[in-house]
C-alpha cells in the first residue's frame, strides 16, 4: 500500500478526473452562455454548438422585450432590497435586545424566536396565502416581502457576534455616556460588520432566488419576479431557445456578480447552517 510521492502518472489521473468533473458541473452554464448568442438552428448541430462561430447578443434584448424581463428584474431588485434591509434592521434590533438588554423572560423569548426555525415556509403557505388574500396583498410588493422581514437565523448570528463585543468596550462606552442607541450604532454594529455582511449576502441570495411564494402571490405580470418570469419565458417560446437561454443568464447574472464579490461571506453563511433554496 506504500506510495511514492509525485508520480506524474498519478497526477495525470487526478487531472483527468478534475477535468471531467469540472466539465460536467459547468456544462449547463456553458451551454446556456454559448447557446444564448447563436442562432437556434445551430443548436441542433452537435457538437458544433459548443463552439460558437458567431456572437449575436440581440437575443438579450429579445429576452427583455418578449419576456418582460426588465420589469421582472426591477421587481426582483425591489423585493430583494426590501427583504435584505428589513431582515438586517429587524435582526440587528432583536439581537441587540438579546445581547445587551435585560428584560423578563429573555430566555423564553429567545427560544420562541429560535422556534421559528422549526417552521419552514412550505408548511405555512396555506394559511399565509389566506392572510395575504384577506389583506388584499395579492399582486403587491407588501405581499412579496412582509412575511420575510424577520429572520431568526440572522438574529441568532448577530447575537453571537454582539456577545463577542468585549466587556471593557461596553464599560468605556457607558462611562462616555453612550446610551443604548449610541452604543448600538457607534460600537456594536460597526464591530459586527462581517456578520452583517454575511447576513446581507445570504438574504440577498435567498430572496433573489425565491420561487414558491412569489409564484403563489402574484397573478399579474406587474409584480412578477424574474424567477417566475423565466417560467413564462421558458414555456412561451421553445422555438427561440437562444432567447430563453439569454433570459436565464440575465436572471442569474446579478447574483453571480454578487457572489464573486462576496465569496467569503457566502461560505461563512453556508457553513453556519443556512440553506440555499
Amino acid at each position: 500500500m506504500a506510495e511514492t510521492r509525485a508520480r506524474p502518472s498519478r497526477h495525470l489521473g487526478r487531472y483527468v478526473l478534475l477535468i471531467v468533473a469540472g466539465v460536467l458541473m459547468f456544462l449547463p452554464i456553458y451551454t446556456a452562455l454559448a447557446g444564448s448568442v447563436q442562432p437556434t438552428s445551430r443548436l441542433f448541430d452537435f457538437p458544433g454548438v459548443l463552439i460558437p462561430r458567431s456572437f449575436d447578443f440581440s437575443t438579450y434584448g429579445d429576452a427583455i422585450r418578449i419576456g418582460n424581463l426588465d420589469r421582472y428584474l426591477v421587481n426582483s431588485a425591489v423585493v430583494t432590497v426590501i427583504i435584505v434591509v428589513g431582515q438586517v434592521v429587524t435582526s440587528v434590533l432583536a439581537a441587540y435586545a438579546f445581547a445587551f438588554l435585560r428584560f423578563p423572560f429573555k430566555r423564553l423569548v429567545f427560544l420562541v424566536f429560535l422556534a421559528t426555525l422549526m417552521v419552514p415556509a412550505e408548511v405555512t403557505i396555506v394559511a399565509n396565502y389566506e392572510t395575504i388574500q384577506e389583506l388584499g396583498w395579492i399582486d403587491s410588493y407588501q405581499g412579496l416581502t412582509v412575511p420575510f422581514l424577520a429572520t431568526a437565523f440572522g438574529t441568532f448570528l448577530l447575537r453571537q457576534s454582539f456577545l463577542q463585543v468585549p466587556q471593557d468596550l461596553r464599560d468605556a462606552a457607558a462611562l462616555d455616556g453612550y446610551g443604548h442607541w449610541g452604543f448600538l450604532t457607534g460600537v456594536a454594529v460597526p464591530l459586527a460588520r462581517p456578520t452583517i455582511a454575511a447576513l446581507t449576502v445570504f438574504s440577498f441570495l435567498l430572496s433573489w432566488n425565491q420561487y414558491l411564494w412569489p409564484l403563489l402571490v402574484t397573478n399579474e405580470e406587474t409584480y412578477r419576479t424574474v424567477q417566475i418570469g423565466l417560467k413564462a419565458l421558458g414555456a412561451s417560446s421553445i422555438d427561440q431557445i437562444n432567447v430563453v437561454l439569454a433570459g436565464t443568464v440575465l436572471a442569474g447574472a446579478p447574483i453571480f456578480v454578487l457572489l464573486v464579490l462576496f465569496q467569503r461571506q457566502l461560505v461563512r453563511g453556508l457553513t453556519s447552517g443556512a440553506v440555499k433554496g
Binding site: 458541473m25 449547463p28 443548436l43 434590533l93 453571537q160 420561487y211 447574472a253
Partner: protein
C-alpha cells in the same frame, strides 16, 4: 431538545454595566431592568410581529384548517376534527405524494453526499492550477432553482435539447426524459443533485480543511495508502459535516418545489408529484383543508429533521 443550551451563554445578561456596579447596585440593577424592558420590547417588536403573523399564527391556522372540511369560496366548512387529517393522510393521493417524496429523497441525498464529497476531495489536492477547478465547481452557486430548471429543461428537451443531440451523435435513441414515466423522477432528481452540489462541495471543502495535516502525515508514516487514510482518518474527522449535510439535504428534498413545477408539473401520471407540489396544487384549487392536512404532515416530518439539524449545528458551532 437541543436549543436551550444555545441560550445559556449570555454573558451580557450576567454582569450589569460598570456604571451601575457601585453602591446600591442591587436597587439600581432592578431600576435598570425596569428601564430596559421598554427598549427591549421596542427592539423585539418588529421581529415579533412578523413571526407572530407569518409563522405562529399560520401554524395554528394550518392545524385549525386541517380539522375542517373546505367550504365554498375558501370558507371553512363543517368542523370534522382530527378525522379530516386522518382521512387526508390515509388517502391514496397523500400516500402517493409521500412515496414520491421519499423516493426523491432516497435518490438525491446519497447521490448529493457522495458526489459533493468526491468533488471536495478532488479539489482538496495541492496541484498546480487547482484553483481553476475549485472555481469551476463553485461556479453554479449563482443558479437559482428556476435558472437551473430552465437550463435543464432545454438541455433535456427531446427534440432540440443538447443531451439528446449527444445521444443521437453517440448513436443512441432519443429519450423524452421528463415525460417518460420511468425517467421523470430520476431526471428531476439529477437536476436537484446538480443544483445542490455546489452547497455540498463548499461545506465539505470547509470540512476537509479542518482535518489536521499531521494526522494524515502520521497515517502515511504508518504506511496507510490513500484510500485507507481517507477511510480511517478523513472520513471519521468529517463525520459531523457528513451528518450536517445529510440532514440539510434531506430537509431540502422534502421542501423541493421549483424544479417540479418547472420541469414536470408533477407528471407524468403524478410520478413526480412531491408533497409540497401537492400542497401547492390544493391551495391553487381552493381546497385549503386538504392542503393544510398535508402541510401538518410535512411539518411533522420536517420538525424531526430540523431538530436533528439543530443538534448537529450546535456541535459544529459557528465559524465566528
Amino acid at each position: 431538545m437541543a436549543v436551550p443550551s444555545v441560550a445559556s451563554d449570555t454573558p451580557a445578561a450576567a454582569g450589569a454595566p460598570a456604571a451601575l456596579g457601585t453602591s446600591g447596585a442591587r436597587d439600581e440593577r432592578v431600576a435598570a431592568r425596569r428601564r430596559e424592558w421598554p427598549l427591549a420590547l421596542l427592539f423585539l417588536a418588529p421581529s415579533a410581529v412578523v413571526f407572530g403573523v407569518f409563522v405562529f399564527y399560520p401554524l395554528y391556522r394550518t392545524i385549525q384548517l386541517a380539522m375542517y372540511r373546505s367550504g365554498p369560496f375558501g370558507r371553512l366548512g363543517e368542523f370534522v376534527g382530527v378525522s379530516n387529517i386522518s382521512d387526508v393522510l390515509g388517502s391514496a393521493e397523500f400516500r402517493h405524494s409521500l412515496g414520491v417524496t421519499l423516493r426523491f429523497t432516497a435518490i438525491t441525498v446519497p447521490l448529493g453526499l457522495v458526489l459533493g464529497l468526491a468533488l471536495a476531495v478532488l479539489a482538496h489536492e495541492r496541484l498546480r492550477g487547482i484553483s481553476i477547478f475549485r472555481t469551476l465547481f463553485a461556479s453554479t452557486v449563482a443558479t437559482s432553482v428556476a435558472v437551473a430548471s430552465i437550463m435543464w429543461l432545454l438541455l433535456l428537451n427531446p427534440s432540440v435539447g443538447l443531451v439528446n443531440a449527444f445521444l443521437e451523435w453517440a448513436g443512441q435513441d432519443r429519450i423524452d426524459f421528463l415525460n417518460e414515466p420511468g425517467w421523470a423522477l430520476w431526471t428531476v432528481s439529477f437536476t436537484t443533485v446538480w443544483l445542490h452540489l455546489v452547497f455540498t462541495f463548499i461545506v465539505f471543502s470547509a470540512g476537509l480543511q479542518s482535518v489536521p495535516d499531521e494526522l494524515l502525515e502520521s497515517a502515511r508514516m504508518d504506511g496507510a495508502g490513500g484510500w485507507r487514510r481517507f477511510r480511517h482518518v478523513t472520513l471519521p474527522m468529517l463525520s459531523p459535516t457528513l451528518l450536517f449535510v445529510f440532514v440539510v439535504l434531506s430537509i431540502n428534498a422534502f421542501q423541493s418545489f421549483g424544479q417540479i413545477d418547472l420541469l414536470t408539473q408533477g407528471g407524468p401520471n403524478d410520478r413526480t408529484r412531491v408533497l409540497v407540489y401537492a400542497i401547492f396544487q390544493e391551495v391553487r384549487r381552493g381546497d385549503p383543508s386538504t392542503a393544510a392536512a398535508q402541510a401538518v404532515a410535512l411539518f411533522g416530518i420536517l420538525f424531526v429533521l430540523t431538530i436533528l439539524q439543530l443538534r448537529v449545528l450546535e456541535r459544529r458551532v459557528f465559524y465566528g
